[in-house]
């Protein structure tokens, strides 16, 4: 079937802000689909609320709407755009659920819009666990013994029948949300009530445990003619019990015989047929008992998923693109394989390499949260690596995590660290072998398949060989083939890393760069998608490129503080570098991203973004220079090494970057430029800190010198706090990594400024005003452009000062400044000589090609050669608000109070013609409920009470009722505001937390400070998270929430494209 001509305009739904379980893999799939459909001549309307994505770049689709992914907004967009079809299968669970809602509300029918890829019935058959179970039985597949629980009492009955442990899977939730494993009745009671609450249908599937079974995933595709292909088989190293998103996985599967595998494949095909998937991608998870070989189906997703992105990168088969083409009528045999350019897409990729995916976690960000893995996903990002053998791939994957200079650094062995799955388990497994444990012993404790354990034991065995023998060239080559870094080998030999490098250089022990070609070498292919391996000798010493090459360093696995925003800048800049005549080498290890799509750059190197790995790629590609300022902090950190190896950095020089990061020299520059600096000091010992604290005056922000995302950064308000800070973090403080102490500017207004500077010109891209006051990490605070409170004159002053600073530092390319404004004085908080998190937001809020200009600035082009480099960012009719999304729900003991350490995973954007409307949209997109009526609970610290009095009055005026604990309630009553008094937690029951849990409270305003007060009010915030009650913890945020509520009461739904 050729493509359908009855379709002209198609809506693609994105997945909204990045959350755990739904990250930038859907940016990748959506972007790919948009490009494919545009190329086929369709008009594509993209809707997504996430400004950090590439898909919301105006050049990706015919029209881009950054609007809330809510039925009422979609209805307006449909009304205006009059599309013939909508694709709900590319934007994760969010898009799928939205598609389902649009169908149920009759909106699709009303406007005659067809759902492509999957319809409501199909979605239900796969997503509704009861229906899905019936379907499994009908095709002869097995599932685990399970019962759909609809209320608490029924849940208790089921537990009695089944015994423990039990697995809980709430219906229709994302990333296993609200689910988990219960080992005891007590744990079960708590989890079942939460799960019932989490499920939109109040249903939890309670399942007998299959802990310890082998887990597999098949990524499949089907076209309208029924042609079925398995794109990739994935095997989890972690057996059942760990969410697949948190598991270390390999592709293709390694431990099933062909017959076992083919039976699984048959079953997958039957399921896809029975669910009724007409066209597109799907994934099916299986578990296999290692002893009996019994196989059960865990679940199925009738859509492109996280693992589809992984499978696409692992095989070179562009699942999302093909899914999009299938949805408009093409068949698999009618689409050419992009990589070979000669064969069709109805094949199953053959791999002659092994792919490993490792998750990256952020437990250190959430105090009090146990580092344990279960069926609810907790990882914030992932790295993928490709190697010719499992050992090479596995070692490289851990290097890609960028947490150490070797794959498996030594750890102090603790047995419970291999018994209970946790974020560091792989390191402890390796250590267990180092301690002499046997494969059998470890198997009995972990149920990780023998094959994987044997492979890991070989890694440790080689470590011992290296330790005890002369490092011959042969041995060195073997170590490299096992994926050992030079640093690792040097540590084993107790020599300097440079010695290992010299030996490699002297004997030309270099990696070869091999192609990912979908066919294991069977057909010729030109696609420049490479990975390194020491298993082959190089055929040619250097990459042959007709054009001069620039190497772009990506940002590696997503983490809190470094995510899709940097991928946006990288991807957008590729196009501009190409326009400037360069061929772009892209280096990254993150399978979720658009930057690692093989057709984004001229040459893709899917490799760790580490000093050794990047240096080898530069040695091979011989670029004119490398670009480090677009991929966040990761590339910046390795730049000094790369420069020391003789490679040229493009844009700002190392010296310029040093100047910005060297507190002392930087302070001096700031002083000469009329930037104010908060009193500060750098100390090594607690004694010094005590002395300096007197000088600086509390409150003080303390942090180690080298941090990302505000890690270990805290506001210290007293001597007592300071002592506690050193108790907890003192061990990372050293002469090399001093503790920075800085006076905290209370109640100051904070802004982000992003600018680019080229040869003789500087352009301010925008100023984002933070909604919360100084003290909340810039990544966690909401922001608005254009600023709403900043005086015009101060704005002008900021622009002028920023430009002067860029000049003085001799910046070429991007510069990000974080400034605080108090009493019209501009304080310098921090300068980042690179692109920042706020760049994509600014680019979209101003609708200007800011990144393109940044690239020209990096290339030091003079202004006369540049078009459009002197626009005014303030020249916009639209107000844009950045919202933030937090993962607290996933971490059962995490506190939602905001501070200087970043905790958010994603951002949203609200665009409108006025501030209130934009605010409201950004709250909606950040998954806040905006209650129309109900009871508001307030618990305020003393200094906020006066400040928030007008707010309380407004709430009453708007028809809400108020309740508060005694102090706040008395205060409000004193000011003639009606307020019910409720008990504090320690005052007995029912108390305020009980009220939140029972659903009587629709909104909580809880401001607090000081460690004790924060701890005392923890239960309030935690119950809000657990029961999805909006909870505002900062006074300015409360004001803005009020504005949003007021706007919401008007009931207007406005939309506008970028």
């Amino acid at each position: 079937m050729p493509k359908r001509h009855d379709l002209k305009k198609i809506i693609i739904l994105g997945s909204g802000p990045i959350v755990i379980g739904q990250a930038c893999e859907f940016d990748y799939s959506g972007t790919q689909a948009c490009k494919a459909l545009m190329k086929e001549g369709y008009e594509v309307v993209l809707v997504n609320s996430n400004p950090a994505t590439i898909m919301t770049d105006p050049e990706i689709a015919t029209r881009v709407y950054i609007e809330p992914l809510e039925p009422r907004y979609l209805e307006e967009i449909i009304k205006k755009e009059k599309p013939q079809a909508i694709v709900p299968t590319l934007g994760g669970q969010t898009a799928l659920n939205l598609g389902l809602q649009l169908d149920q509300l009759g909106i699709l029918k009303k406007y005659n819009v067809e759902m492509l890829g999957a319809d409501a019935e199909i979605i239900e058959r796969a997503e509704d666990r009861e229906k899905f179970n019936d379907l499994l039985i009908s095709v002869g597949a097995k599932s685990t013994k399970n019962v759909m629980v609809r209320n608490f009492d029924q849940g208790l009955e089921v537990a009695k029948q089944f015994g423990f442990p039990l697995i809980l899977r709430p219906n229709y939730t994302l990333g296993g949300g609200g689910g988990g494993i219960a080992y005891s009745l007590e744990e079960y009671k708590q989890k079942i009530s939460l799960g019932l609450h989490e499920s939109p249908t109040s249903e939890v599937l309670v399942e007998e445990s299959i802990l310890g079974w082998k887990e597999y995933e098949l990524e499949v595709m089907r076209d309208a003619a029924g042609t079925f292909v398995v794109i990739c088989s994935i095997e989890n190293i972690d057996p059942c019990g760990v969410h697949t998103g948190d598991s270390i996985t390999v592709a293709p599967q390694q431990t099933l015989s062909d017959q076992e595998y083919q039976d699984m494949r048959d079953e997958a095909q039957k399921i896809v047929e029975a669910v009724g998937v007409q066209t597109g991608g799907a994934n099916i998870q299986f578990a296999v008992c290692p002893d009996t070989k019994k196989r059960v189906v865990i679940e199925m997703n009738p859509r492109v998923s996280r693992s589809s992105a992984l499978a696409s990168k692992a095989t070179g088969f562009p699942i999302a693109k093909i899914a999009a083409l299938l949805s408009v009528g093409f068949h698999l045999d009618e689409i050419t394989n992009d990589i070979t350019k000669t064969t069709p897409s109805c094949y199953e990729p053959a791999l002659d390499y092994i792919v490993t995916k490792v998750p990256r976690f952020a437990f250190e960000k959430f105090k009090g949260v146990a580092d344990e893995l279960s069926t609810q996903m907790k990882s914030v990002g992932e790295a993928m690596s490709i190697g010719r053998t499992f050992k090479e791939s596995f070692s490289k994957a851990f290097l890609s995590l960028e947490s150490a200079q070797e794959s498996f650094p030594e750890v102090l062995f603790k047995e419970e660290k291999i018994l209970i799955p946790n974020s560091q388990r792989a390191l402890y497994l390796v250590q267990a072998f180092r301690e002499g444990m046997s494969v059998d012993e470890i198997y009995s404790k972990t149920k990780i398949s023998y094959w994987f354990l044997e492979q890991i034991s070989e890694i440790v065995a080689l470590e011992n060989v290296i330790k005890n023998n002369k490092l011959t060239n042969k041995l060195l080559l073997k170590a490299k083939r096992y994926g050992f870094s030079d640093f690792h080998i040097a540590r084993l030999k107790d020599c300097a890393e440079i010695q290992v490098l010299s030996q490699r250089e002297d004997h030309k022990i270099f990696p070869d760069y091999m192609q990912v070609d979908t066919c294991a070498g069977e057909f010729e292919s030109e696609t420049p998608y490479f990975y390194s391996s020491y298993w082959s000798a190089r055929e040619s010493e250097y990459l042959k490129s007709k054009k001069p090459v620039v190497a772009l360093l990506g940002s590696g696995p997503n983490r809190i503080g470094q995510g899709v925003e940097f991928d946006y800048t990288c991807v957008r800049s590729v196009k501009q570098f190409q326009k400037e005549g360069y061929a772009v080498v892209m280096i990254n290890s993150n399978p979720e991203t658009v930057s690692t799509d093989y057709d984004t750059s001229d040459y893709l190197f899917f490799e760790p973004v580490t000093s050794e790995s990047v240096a080898e790629i530069l040695r091979y590609t011989q670029p004119e220079g490398f670009v480090a300022q677009l991929g966040g902090q990761t590339p910046i950190n390795i730049s000094p090494y790369l420069v020391s190896q003789g490679y040229k950095i493009l844009g700002s020089s190392l010296e310029a970057m040093d100047l910005a990061e060297d507190r002392k020299r930087f302070s001096e520059i700031c002083k000469t430029l009329d930037f104010k600096l908060p009193e500060s000091a750098a100390v090594v010992t607690y004694d010094e800190a005590q002395v300096q604290a007197q000088e600086i005056g509390y409150p003080i922000i303390c942090r180690p010198s080298y941090v990302l995302g505000g890690r270990r950064m805290e506001v210290v308000e007293s001597d007592h706090d300071l002592a506690s800070y050193f108790e907890r973090h003192g061990y990372v403080i050293s002469e090399k990594n001093k503790c920075q102490m800085e006076h905290f500017l209370e109640s100051a207004l904070e802004v982000d400024v992003d600018l680019v500077r080229g040869e003789g010109w500087t352009l301010v891209g925008g100023i984002v005003e933070h909604i919360e006051r100084a003290g909340v990490h810039s990544g966690d605070s909401m922001g608005v452009l254009p600023p709403q409170r900043l005086k015009k004159s101060t704005g002008r002053k900021i622009e002028a000062l920023s430009k002067q600073l860029a000049e003085t530092l001799d910046i070429y390319g991007f510069l990000n400044l974080q400034l605080a404004i108090k009493n019209d004085e501009v304080y310098m908080i921090e300068a980042n000589p690179r692109s920042s998190r706020s760049v994509p937001f600014i680019a979209k809020a101003t609708s200007k090609p800011f990144v393109d200009l940044g690239v020209q600035a990096i290339l030091r082009k003079p202004q006369s050669n540049i078009v459009g480099s002197n626009y005014d960012w303030k020249d916009t009719e639209i107000v844009s608000v950045k919202g933030v999304v937090f993962p607290f729900k996933k971490f059962s003991k995490a506190d939602s109070i905001l501070g200087p350490e970043m905790k958010s995973t994603g951002e949203s954007m609200g665009r409108a013609s006025n501030y209130a409307d934009a605010l409201m949209k950004s709250f909606i997109s950040s998954h806040y409920d905006l209650p129309a009526s109900g009871e508001i609970f307030m618990s305020l610290r003393d200094k906020d009470k006066d400040l928030l009095l007008p707010l309380a009055k407004q709430f009453i005026f708007m028809g809400y009722s108020l309740c508060a604990t005694k102090g706040t309630a008395d205060f409000l009553e004193d000011h003639n505001i009606k307020c019910k008094t409720v008990k504090k937690v320690h005052e007995g029951r029912p108390n305020c937390v009980d009220r939140i849990r029972s659903g009587e409270i629709c909104l909580v305003i809880n401001t607090t400070s000081g460690r004790q007060a924060i701890e005392a009010s923890f239960d309030i915030r935690r119950s809000c998270i657990d029961y999805s009650v909006p909870c505002i913890t900062e006074s300015d945020a409360a004001d803005s929430f009020l504005l949003a509520l007021q706007n919401s009461q008007k009931g207007l739904v406005t939309i506008s494209p970028l």
Partner: protein, 355 residues
Amino acid sequence: MSYLVLESGEVFEGQWHGIKGGDSAGEVVFNTSHSGYEEIATDPSYYSQIVVMTAPMQGNYGVSKEFWESEKIWIKGFVCLELQDTKRESGWKDLLQKSGVPAMDEVDTRRLVKTLRSKGTVWGAMVSAETQEEAIARAKLLIIKEQQKDKDWCYATTTKDVQILKGKKTSGPRVAVIDLGCKKNIVRELLDTSSEVGVFPSRVSAQEIMNFKPDGVMLSNGPGDPKDVQKTVETVKSLLGKVYIMGICMGHHILALALGGQTYKLKFGHRGSNHPIRDELLKKVYVSSQNHGYAVDQKSLPEGIDVTHWNINDNTVAGLKSAAQKCFSVQYHPESHPGPHEARELFTYFMSELN
């Protein structure tokens, strides 16, 4: 040291896992299946061939007699990047050793495959030797010796005696299999739906087949150049039109030759579990299991013979049918093992034509 020496001059080093002095020569071919090493090694179609697996890790899940496709290991050598070698699961390596089949790993199989892809299928030898020169010299002799063997490879692998096997369905048809190097799973598939299956040697006469009173004849897979197979084409010519015939792989070539068509050698063949087929008989497109070095020339086929199956990677003929002569055949393996099962329906189709 150990070497894989190609006739075309390239030499690949590796780690020897075979028995001492177990040097051997054969046609060097590569297979892209991810799993199924044991099925492949016991498939008689690999007679006189050194098999290079593109999947790097081999021997991962051990061995089991239930995967065997015949009574012995036929391959002349096994080459891969890393052969599983641990105390617990060295089954595959041990089995190769016990069977006297040389194995090599740590071979740069990627470059080897690219060489085979550009040079076409070449002969080669696996040799353990002190020096590369010595290896090359020894390899030359080994290759010559191997090439001097009788060219009718099907005859080398076929059953020596007629075997009569009871089928599972007493009311089902009787099927005669002409064993050209038959995989067990073809017989297994037939037994499921027939009353009796007779397996005959490759040089069987038409009369012997007709004496069995078959409702259908299956021409099996087998190794080598179809034009070197003696007698079978004549036998099939005599059977044409008298009894319904299905051919698989070598059987497909033999049928094409009997129908008056021609076969030719492919540059490097198709060996793997991922080749797409457009099947106009079953009216679908699916992925198939393949293992062949020759193909039927479409232009050579006389009138009345329809090409019903296409390999859509390179548009070679993958199956044909003649309604008048009551026969059809496919180039690939509906019996799978290894590989996907979707073409299994062709057995059903065959059986339905018999009733």
